[in-house]
C-alpha cells in the first residue's frame, strides 16, 4: 500500500508560513465548503456572504461575536498556558465551572455592601483562585505521582459539572435562589455589581474580554521574556536538561497548571459577572467552552495573542452559524461548514513542519 504523496520534514521553517498557511487553509476550507453547498443546492457566495455579515460585519453581529468569544478567549489561554509546558490540561471546562462558583460566592457575599469596583476585582480573584486550586490539584498529581493529567483533568470536568448541578438543582445551597419556583435557578447578583461593557463605535465590548486581552498580554510576556517562561521552555524541550541545570520541575508543573486553571477560572467569573449574573448551572455546561478552548489554543499555535483572535474568529463562526440555521438550512450543514474550516486549519498546521513530496517516481525494490 503506497500513497501518491508523502510528507518530508522541513529542515527550516520559513517565517512567512506562519501567516501563509492559515490563509491557504482557510481558502481550502471555503472551496470544499462551496462544493458541499453546491451539492445541496445552495449558492456558496450567498451563504458565505451571509456568514461574514452575520458574524463580523454589522455592529450587532460583532457585539454578539465578542460575547461568544469572551469565554473562549479565557479557556484558550488556559490551554495555551499548560500546553506550552507539555502539560495537557483539558480541564479548562471544570476549572471554568469552579471559577464561576467562586466568583458568584464572593459576588453574592459582597453584593451591595462593598464598592462596585472592589466587588468586581474580588470576583475575578476568587474565580482565579478556585480555578487555580482545582487545576493545581491535577498539577500536583502529575508532578508528584506522574499521573496522566489528561485523564485526571478530564475526570474532574465531570466532577465539577456534578457539583454545579448539586448546588443549583439538587440542594438548597447558598447559590440557589430561594425565590425561584418551578425551575431552580441561581441567586442573582445585585444589579450594580454586573460587570461593565464598553461601547466602542456601537459595538459592545464586555469587561471580561478586556480582562482576557490583558491576561493574554501578561501570558505572552511570561513566555517571551520571563525566567519562568524560559524554564517552562526548557522543561518542555528536554526534561533531562531541566534536571541538569536544577530547574524545579515539579514546582513549575504545579505552578503553571494552577496558572492555567486560574485563566479558565477567570473565564468562569466573567460568565457570572458579564453575562448570566448568577450561577447558571445549565448555561455553563451547554457550550463546552473548555473543550473549544483547546481548539482555540491549537489553532493559535499556542500563541496567547493569537488565541485572542482565534477566539473572536470562532465566536463569529458560531454566531453566523446560528443565524444561518433555518427551515431551508439544516443545523447539520452549519456544523459541516464550521467543521471544515477547523479541520483545514488544523490540517494546515502540519504543513508548517512538513512539506508534501510526490511519490510518483519512487520505485520500491
Amino acid at each position: 500500500m503506497k500513497s501518491p504523496v508523502r510528507l518530508e520534514r522541513r529542515l527550516h521553517q520559513p517565517k512567512q508560513l506562519n501567516w501563509a498557511i492559515p490563509l491557504v487553509s482557510l481558502l481550502g476550507a471555503l472551496v470544499v465548503g462551496a462544493l458541499v453547498l453546491l451539492a445541496t443546492g445552495k449558492n456558496p457566495i450567498d451563504v458565505y456572504w451571509r456568514m461574514l455579515d452575520r458574524g463580523f460585519l454589522s455592529e450587532r453581529a460583532l457585539t454578539g461575536t465578542l460575547r461568544t468569544a469572551t469565554p473562549l478567549a479565557f479557556t484558550g489561554l488556559c490551554a495555551t498556558a499548560a500546553f506550552r509546558l507539555g502539560v495537557i490540561n483539558i480541564g479548562g471546562e471544570g476549572q471554568l465551572y469552579m471559577g464561576a462558583v467562586g466568583a458568584s460566592l464572593v459576588g453574592l457575599q459582597m453584593g451591595g455592601t462593598a464598592p462596585v469596583g472592589v466587588t468586581i476585582v474580588v470576583m475575578v480573584l476568587a474565580g482565579m483562585l478556585f480555578g487555580a486550586m482545582y487545576a493545581g490539584f491535577v498539577g500536583m498529581l502529575r508532578a508528584q505521582f506522574n499521573t496522566s493529567e489528561i485523564i485526571t483533568s478530564l475526570m474532574m470536568n465531570y466532577l465539577a459539572g456534578i457539583l454545579l448541578n448539586y448546588l443549583i438543582f439538587n440542594s438548597t445551597s447558598y447559590w440557589r435562589d430561594p425565590r425561584s419556583f418551578g425551575f431552580p435557578s441561581g441567586k442573582p447578583l445585585e444589579k450594580r455589581d454586573f460587570w461593565p461593557a464598553y461601547d466602542v463605535l456601537g459595538i459592545s465590548i464586555p469587561f471580561g474580554l478586556v480582562l482576557a486581552a490583558l491576561f493574554a498580554f501578561v501570558l505572552w510576556v511570561i513566555y517571551k521574556r520571563s525566567r519562568l517562561g524560559f524554564e517552562v521552555e526548557v522543561i518542555a524541550d528536554s526534561p533531562r536538561a531541566a534536571r541538569y541545570v536544577g530547574i524545579r520541575t515539579k514546582w513549575t508543573i504545579i505552578a503553571v497548571t494552577a496558572m492555567s486553571g486560574a485563566l479558565a477560572g477567570a473565564g468562569g467569573a466573567s460568565q457570572v459577572g458579564d453575562f448570566a449574573h448568577y450561577l447558571d448551572a445549565k448555561g455553563l455546561q451547554l457550550n463546552g467552552f473548555g473543550y473549544t478552548g483547546i481548539v482555540v489554543a491549537a489553532l493559535a499555535r499556542l500563541n496567547p495573542i493569537g488565541a485572542l483572535f482565534v477566539a473572536v474568529l470562532l465566536g463569529g463562526l458560531t454566531n453566523a452559524g446560528y443565524s444561518l440555521q433555518g427551515p431551508d438550512f439544516p443545523s447539520g450543514l452549519v456544523g459541516t461548514l464550521q467543521g471544515l474550516i477547523l479541520f483545514c486549519a488544523v490540517a494546515g498546521e502540519i504543513l508548517t513542519k512538513y512539506r508534501i513530496r510526490s511519490n510518483a517516481s519512487a520505485v520500491t525494490a
Binding site: K2, L228, V245, V363, A365
Partner: protein, 544 residues
Amino acid sequence: MSGEGAGRWPAPFAFPQTLSTSVIWRADNGGHEGATMTNTAVHMTGVVKRFPGVVANDGVEFDVRKGEVHALLGENGAGKSTLSNILTGLYRPDEGTIELDGVPVSFASPKAALDAGIGMVHQHFRLVQPFTVAENVVLGNPQTPFTINAGDVNKQVAELALRFDMAVDPAARIWQLSVGEQQRVEILKVLHRGAQVLILDEPTAVLTPIEAEALFRTLRTMTAEGRTVIFISHKLDEVMSVSDRITVLRGGRTVGTVETKSTSARELASMMVGRSVEFNRVVRGRPGNPRDVVLSVQGVNGNDDRGRQALHNVNITVGRGEIVGVAGVAGNGQRELAEVIAGMRPATDGSVSVGGNTLPNGKARAAIAGGLAHVPEDRLHTGLAAGMSVEDNMALKTYRTPLLSRFGMLRRNAMTEQATELVTRYDVKTPDTATPVRLLSGGNVQKVLLSREFSTNPLVLVAASPTRGLDVGAIETVRNRLVEAADAGVGILLISEDLEEIMSLADRITVMYEGRIVADIPAANASREQIGMLMGGATLENAQ
C-alpha cells in the same frame, strides 16, 4: 528464529564466504578474491543531495561488495550521514542512482529500504524507552504477531543475541540500560528484521576496547552469514583493523576508495582532512597539583534508575589543574557517578565537596553555584535543550544571574551579546545565535556546551565522554580546550570509555568496575594493557 528474511533476499547470497571464515580478520589469504568477483551489494553513482544553503552530497561514488566490511570515513559534515540516510530511504537524492545487487532502486521510505534488506544502526538510538529490550527488537517487524508472548519473544531475542555474541538482558527496559547496551539493542533490532546490508554509524564510539572486540566478532558472524556491513567511523585504528575496504568522503565528495591492506592510518587521515594530522600525547603546559584538592568525593554510594546500588563507597579527589581519568566499561557506574557529583542524582551515602565546600545532596543548582561544570554523556538532551536556540542554551546555566535577568525577567539583549561573544571565542559554526542547537553538527554542539560550561568559570569540570562521536578536528579542539582549562587551574574529572583519550590526557587514571574504584594510578605508570585488564575486572595485582 524469525526475522531471517531469507525469502526476500535474492539467491546469489549463497556465494562462498571464504572471507569471513578466515581467522585473521583482514583477510590477506585470498579470501578477498571471493568478494571482488562480480558481487556488488550496493552501488551509488553521482549522488547529489542539497539542503537549503548546503550541498551535503556532491556527486558521491560509493561501491560496496557483498560480504565485506566497508568503512565510510570522513569528518563530521563530510556527508556520511546524508549518504547513509539516502541509502536507508530517509532522504531521496536530488540526483544520482542507487543500485542494489545491480538493480536500480529508489526508496520512498526507511521501511522500503528495510524491506529491501538495508538496515541502519543509528548513532542516536531510536528506541522506545519504556519498552523492554525484546519488545523494541520485535517492534515494527511485520512478522511480529499482533499479540506477543513476552516469554517467547524474550527467548527469541536471547537466542538472537547469543548467536551474534551480544550480551543483553531481553527483559530489561531501555531506560535502564547504558548507552553501550542500548546500541546492542539497535543492532539486534536490525538483525531481527533480517537486514542483509547493515549500516553502523559510529558503532564503537560508546564501547571500550574489549566491547569493540566483541562487536568486531559480531560483525564477523554477520559476514559469515553473507551479510554486508557498512561501517561509518572517524577512528582510524579501528577502520584499519575491521574493514576490507575504505571509502573516504570530504566536503560531500568521494576522495577515493582504498583496499585496507594497501593503505595506512596516516594516509587515511590526510585523505580525510586534506592535510596530515599528528597523533601525540598532549603535552601539559603545567602539571596539576593533586594536593590542592578542588573536588573531593568521599564514600559515595548511589543507586541507578532501577533503584539498584550502582556506586559502592566511591572515593575520588581531583587537584587544582589536574586531569583525573575515570576509565571503565560503559554501565559500571560512571553515569551515576557524574550525576551524583553534579547534583542530578542524590547520593544514598557519602559526600561531594567542591573547593572545600560540601555540596548539598542532589541539588544541581547548588552544585553549579558551587563552581561545578558538567559535560554530560548525553549532550543533546541533557547538556543542552536541543530544540532551543544557541543563545538560550548558552544561558542555560547563567540565566538567573543579575547579568542575564532582573526581577524575574530575562535580559534578552544581554543573552544575545553573551552568546555572540562565546560563539566567536569558541569558533562555533552556526548561522546565528537564534538557530536551534539540534541543527548544528556534532562538533559544534559540543563547542556550544563546552563554551557555556567554561563561561561559568568553574573550579571543577566533570566531562563524560566529551569527544564521543566527534570528528578528528573536533576531537582535537575539545581536547585542547580541556587541557587549556586544566592549565588554567580547573580540576577535571574525565570520564571516558575511550581508553586512548584517557591515556593521552589524564595525569592520574582511576578505573571503575561494577560501581567501585578499583585502581588509582599515575598516568606515567599506567599501561594500556593494565588499564584494559582492570576495566575487565582484573585486580590490580593481577593486572601488573
